[in-house]
Symmetry: C2
Subunit: 154 residues, 2 copies
DNA sequence: TAACTTTACTTGCATTATGCAAGTATTCTG
DNA sequence: CAGAATACTTGCATAATGCAAGTAAAGTTA
């Protein structure tokens, strides 16, 4: 790992404990990619924000250590890995979506979203969450992953 | 300010734009304090996580620049400032609460909450949000602040 | 009213984390 | 078998953070 993050000042506040895991600039962006259909290292690298490979590697390792992310071998390739969110990871959608909505409301001039996702958001947050999780569940069953936690309510 | 944060890779993703504002280790903890009744510099310093004063000062300045936070003079003192959340800031409760709930579910062994807040959470998230915002609205009207945005739905 | 304390900061310096370019070890592809 | 792709790691410069100390204005106490 690139760092130790020694200074976790060990609060028992649930918010602080959550931020220990997702409270940096990159982690939630990786979770976003995983929620919206990306699964490979190179795909995360290609996202607009331009994460560097050492940071990506580090964050994936941390997310695995926290059982937020796991991976399987690519069915067609020994070298490629397919990362995916655990049930715990998928439940972060309930944090991601409100932050997206907050930005849409308060930074609307600067935001751009793929038309398809904008349309899905029109259906309202609950429906958006449902269909996003449904897509993940289908991917999982197509890859032989035991899809526990599809019906996450948090 | 302590830094310039040059490297904001200017994505147009709403999540990334949101994280530009609240995506560091400290900002949401300050927002939490503001949501739950703290208003002064020293009170933020006293929180369990132990933020240092230079970082606190920097984050408060950024939050003001983003119109998430504002302040008034303490009615009994010329030197003291009372910080408070704008409507935009208060709406971050819809991000904070889900992350709190996520931690309560997934890091339950490590979490401790003041009994009063745990009880309030028992009422369900919507009611918890309502009563938290209600308390802020009362503080605001007690301090002559025009309480726009009490009924935030995001 | 002089001395002490409080508040909201700033400054300086050591330590950590990040960004970037390059390198590496497998694995696949033509 | 030569070259490209994938998932990393390494090294080094730069930026952010932690910590201790300092400061200026205001308030409090003797």
């Amino acid at each position: 790992m690139v760092s130790k993050k020694e200074h976790q000042a060990h609060s028992h506040c649930p918010l602080a404990l959550g931020l220990d895991i997702v409270g940096d600039h990159w982690t939630l962006l990786i979770v976003r990619d995983l929620l919206f259909g990306k699964h490979e290292f190179k795909e995360f690298l290609e996202s607009d924000e331009g994460i560097s490979s050492n940071i990506l590697s580090d964050r994936l390792a941390r997310l695995q250590a926290q059982t937020v992310v796991q991976w399987i071998h690519h069915p067609q390739s020994k070298k490629r890995k397919l990362y995916y969110l655990t049930g715990k990871g998928k439940e972060l959608i309930h944090v991601v979506v409100p932050l997206v909505r907050w930005s849409l409301k308060h930074r609307q001039g600067e935001v751009q979203i793929p038309a398809q996702r904008a349309a899905a958001l029109q259906q309202g947050p609950e429906q958006f969450i449902r269909s996003t999780l449904q897509a993940l569940a289908e991917w999982e069953s197509a890859h032989g992953i035991d899809a526990m936690g599809t019906h996450t309510r948090l």
